[in-house]
């Protein structure tokens, strides 16, 4: 092993450790801070060794607000994910298997919806929602998140469906399967990896979304978890312990979910890369 190669490997490893630390530190700080008493939190220099306390968690669970917010997030994220998959998978099947005029334009329209910066549309969407009476409802968030999640589902699932051999469809058609049978019994079961990954992405995006949840929901009982986390950011003395505990409670379900299905996520990320 040459010394140049060894130095290169060491530098490479050091670089990776630095990047990893940079990425993980905010999570570490949030979780440890949620377990600290106020005095430990405000200590300068910061306290690295401390006696953990669940007082912050007791305080937020005693307060209905956080748990109601988590429930609201669950309702909105689950509903928008289910709708995205229900609407996106048939669209993806049509784009993967049918030839029709305007197909390329339709495909581009789906994808371009994801390119728009959400903040650009925030005000017009607020005005329209107010006009139709949808402000302060779960439905408005579900519909808005659908517009952002549907392209992801269509994008990933179209590529997944394209990889399924045409022979299977032709064989099924010869055996009397209708177009819906082919989609439901052949493509959907075989497309589970793509469907799962797109559902995961849709759920994560919906769970973490803050801008539209802040703009479109003002009623305290309907606020979602990310919005409630920012609620604490007022006053002269910020309850950092409760803020960090709230943040941990919000992040934990999605983190566990993502860790459990991370293998499928990596597969899914490469699905759009090759024909």
């Amino acid at each position: 092993m040459s010394s140049t190669w060894r130095i290169g490997s060491i530098l490479h490893a050091v670089g990776l450790v630095v990047v990893l630390a940079f990425a993980l530190f905010p999570f570490y700080w949030m979780v440890t801070s949620s377990l600290k008493e106020q005095t430990d939190l405000l200590a300068s220099p910061p306290v690295w060794m401390f006696k953990p306390s669940f007082g912050n968690y007791q305080a937020i669970f005693a307060d209905r607000t956080v748990m109601t917010a988590v429930l609201n997030s669950l309702i909105v994220a689950t509903s928008t994910t289910a709708l995205s998959v229900a609407l996106g998978t048939p669209a993806a099947y049509a784009l993967a298997r049918y030839e029709f005029r305007g197909k390329a334009d339709l495909w581009f329209w789906f994808i371009s919806n994801r390119m728009i910066s959400p903040i650009v549309l925030a005000l017009p969407i607020y005005l329209v929602s107010r006009q139709v009476g949808l402000l302060n409802t779960h439905l408005v968030l579900i519909l808005i998140y659908l517009t952002f999640n549907l392209p992801i589902v269509v994008w990933i699932c179209t590529d997944q469906f394209r990889s399924i051999p045409r022979d299977l469809e032709e064989s099924a058609r010869l055996e009397g399967a209708s177009q819906f049978d082919v989609f439901w019994r052949i493509y959907l079961p075989l497309g589970v990896p793509g469907v799962a990954v797109s559902a995961i992405f849709a759920f994560i995006f919906s769970w973490n979304e803050l801008l539209y949840a802040l703009v479109l929901i003002t009623s305290q009982d309907l606020k979602t978890a990310p919005v409630v986390a920012t609620n604490f950011m007022s006053g002269y003395e910020l309850p950092w312990g409760k803020i960090m505990a709230t943040g941990t409670v919000i992040v934990l379900p999605v983190t566990i979910f993502a860790m459990l299905v991370s293998r499928h996520m990596v597969r899914g990320l490469t699905m759009g890369a090759t024909k």
């Binding site: 051999p165 022979d167 032709e170 064989s171 099924a172 058609r173 010869l174 009397g176 399967a177 049978d181």
Partner: protein
């Protein structure tokens, strides 16, 4: 009335024609093989019979019923694909039962039919497995099982043995032949392998560039090829061709000139089908298995290039003056040195003649 009728079938992809007015009839219970080189349109023709490709022009009839434009599922045909097309997420039982479930057959009848097919194909012990747990030959049997349970009027095979190794291919060929004998159903089989065609077919349809070159029984195509293409395609090893010139012909024979022959000339004791002018280009066809080494009256002056011993016989490749390589088959394992002069005659069979257009003379 023919069981299967193709009437002037034309297929175009955009402005590009791929099938040029193919007409064909097959009787009930017949085993018809479409054979030809890659890209000749044999699979396209098969898919048009199945209804998986639209017919640009012409008609397809099955059992007296016009099926052009009829959905594939309503044509009462089953197809075995080259890739088997087994549903990977379903068990073997579910794969075979799929078509019966689509037809809303009662569960007990589905089970009875699947079990019967499994018994015929000897795959009863595999019913709970998934396709990925099967070997190539087992998958092929499952694909055939899925085709036979529906009791179709017509079986279609699209190069079903291409993905198998040589030994398994031979074994499955026999299985398919037995299946045809036992079921007696009309079968249309597509292959590029002329050995499969020769061994399985009642009739062979030789296709080239979307056109039928010849239709006939295996022996008809072997003994009386209509043109040079069919003569070269049917038969293994491939027929040898020598481009000669006609010297003269009469009511009983024709004489041809080429330096490869002893004395520079060859006289064939058979009159040509059409008049041949002296000096006209004539292609001589010689089947490798009709040439014999050490003949009493040698016809060809050959020099050995190399030989391949295949155990029971030897294939010899030799050169001749102004001729492409000549191949012939010798029984046993004779020691033939490279460069050795070879006296070769026509031991059995005949000499084939083709005019400048390739048509048989």
């Amino acid at each position: 009335m023919p069981f299967l009728k193709l009437d002037g079938i034309v297929k175009r992809y955009g402005s590009v024609p791929v099938i040029h007015g193919v007409s064909l009839e097959a009787e009930e219970g017949e085993f018809v093989v479409f054979v030809g080189p890659s890209g000749c349109g044999k699979s396209t023709l098969l898919r048009m019979i199945a209804g998986l490709e639209e017919v640009t022009d012409g008609d397809v009839s099955i059992d007296g019923r016009l099926v052009t434009g009829v959905a594939p599922a309503d044509r009462e045909v089953s197809m075995v694909f080259q890739s088997y097309a087994l549903y990977p997420h379903m068990s073997v039982f579910d794969n075979i039962a799929f078509g019966l479930r689509m037809a809303k057959m009662p569960a007990n009848e589905i089970k009875a039919r699947v079990d019967e097919a499994a018994r015929i194909l000897q795959i009863g012990s595999l019913l709970e497995r998934k396709p990925k747990q099967l070997s190539g030959g087992q998958r092929q049997r499952v694909a055939i099982g899925r085709a036979i349970v529906r009791k179709p009027k017509l079986f279609l095979f699209d190069e079903p043995l291409s993905n198998l190794d040589a030994e398994l291919r031979t074994q499955m060929r026999v299985e398919i032949a037995k299946l045809h004998r036992d079921l007696g159903v009309t079968m249309v089989y597509v292959t590029h392998d002329q050995i499969e065609a020769m061994t399985l077919a009642d009739r062979i349809v030789v296709l080239r560039a979307g056109v039928i070159e010849q239709v006939g029984s295996p022996s008809e195509l072997y003994d009386e090829p209509a043109n040079r293409f069919v003569a070269g395609f049917i038969g293994s090893p491939k027929m040898n061709f020598i481009e000669a010139k006609a010297v003269g012909s009469d009511a009983s024979s024709i004489t041809l000139a080429h330096p490869a022959f002893v004395g520079g000339q060859l006289t064939v004791d058979r009159p040509p089908k059409r008049a041949v002018l002296p000096g006209a280009a004539v292609t001589i066809g010689l089947r490798p298995d009709s040439l014999s080494l050490g003949a009493a009256k040698p016809l060809l002056n050959l020099t050995c290039d190399f030989s391949e011993s295949l155990g029971g016989h030897t294939q010899v490749y030799a050169t001749a003056p102004q001729a492409p390589q000549i191949a012939f088959v010798v029984g046993g394992r004779p020691e033939i040195a490279q460069g050795a002069p070879l006296a070769v005659g026509v031991g059995s069979g005949r000499v084939y003649l083709f005019d400048s257009e390739g048509a048989a003379l």
